[in-house]
Symmetry: C2
Subunit: 232 residues, 2 copies
Amino acid sequence: MHPWAEWNHVVKLDPDKTLVDGESFEAVASSGTDAIAIGGTTGMTEEKMARVVEACGRYDVPVYIEPSHLGAVYHSEAHDGYLVPVVFNAGDPTWITGAHKEWARLDGEIDWSRTYPEAYVVLNEDSSVAEYTQANCNLDPDEVAAYATVAERMFAQPILYVEYSGTLGDPAVVEAAADAVESASVFYGGGIHDYDSAHTMAAYADVVVVGDLVHDEGVEALRETVRGANEA
Amino acid sequence: MHPWAEWNHVVKLDPDKTLVDGESFEAVASSGTDAIAIGGTTGMTEEKMARVVEACGRYDVPVYIEPSHLGAVYHSEAHDGYLVPVVFNAGDPTWITGAHKEWARLDGEIDWSRTYPEAYVVLNEDSSVAEYTQANCNLDPDEVAAYATVAERMFAQPILYVEYSGTLGDPAVVEAAADAVESASVFYGGGIHDYDSAHTMAAYADVVVVGDLVHDEGVEALRETVRGANEA
């Protein structure tokens, strides 16, 4: 069984951003979320990554690094492994196979038994991740479903990640992705900001990922999204 | 067990090319090769594909279609399935995930139980496949090995295909790829033209693929490569 089999909700922390004044990593870890993923697209260094990993690793909740590039890789006993994005609709193959090849070549310490790929489909053309990966975001639900099928059938991807980073996406797209996969888990990320948005996306996605909210609004708002995800 | 588990040698027929005068598909099928793969990079149509598939499908040897694009897909009882190239070092993501997404979207008849991906690393920069896919062919053996590791570990690819299309490659690169994989089978293609070239590459590759030779020199030359592959 994969570590995320029982997850409904994940917090994604960006080491380049701060928590809300007066709040702690302990409060985030005890928000009711099922896991903490640590990653970000820009401004990442191993030092920033290490600080957040070590802080979060003290609590009971599983901690995963989501490396965007080699500078975001940080080996430590304080985390449970890596969730590695593969952007299936990237325009630049660096984000499908290229960066991964460089990681395999330059890092002699990869523990593959706790390294899991995530098949991303990036859908908000205004997001930094879309710009960075030159993603083709102009996709109909059936095209997203086809990427999901290919990710599962031809590339044995255990996670299909519908990513609307920065904006709440179209539930019909998440539904199409969920209908297309058989055993892969569907993660949804983007614009989750309250009970309702979490509840809506969790109707189709196995796991709802909440990112900016924790940095912008804080743990009380986060708890509402946990409740929305769990009650879907 | 995968169909190719016991294969040493594959003939690749290009439906856009002819056999040597006076030779037949029956002679190719009874050359001692373990399988016939049918595919080509340019000039492919479903009609050309159908003609060669139906001709080869009458004999005992397994027949697989290797579709380069949707026009090369041909559903029939005369073949055993599809070996689908995924070009891990392509510069254009169409050849990693894009064409595959279109196939999954537009073809309602895909039988995934007999559809297998092949993780290609394309290494002859002068070949049409390199030009077509905008492959980055300037790779050291350790980079090819890293692609092999990623193909197996992150994408569960059952075949790692070292492709020197049109020229005999560097055995050290094939060895590096073979050393990098654990359970994936290594296919080698490019420039196999006699006993020695087949024997050399089969020392490292599980399967040696012979293409142009059968169109240019004929079945007698082909038999020599079968012998070279089997005696390695």
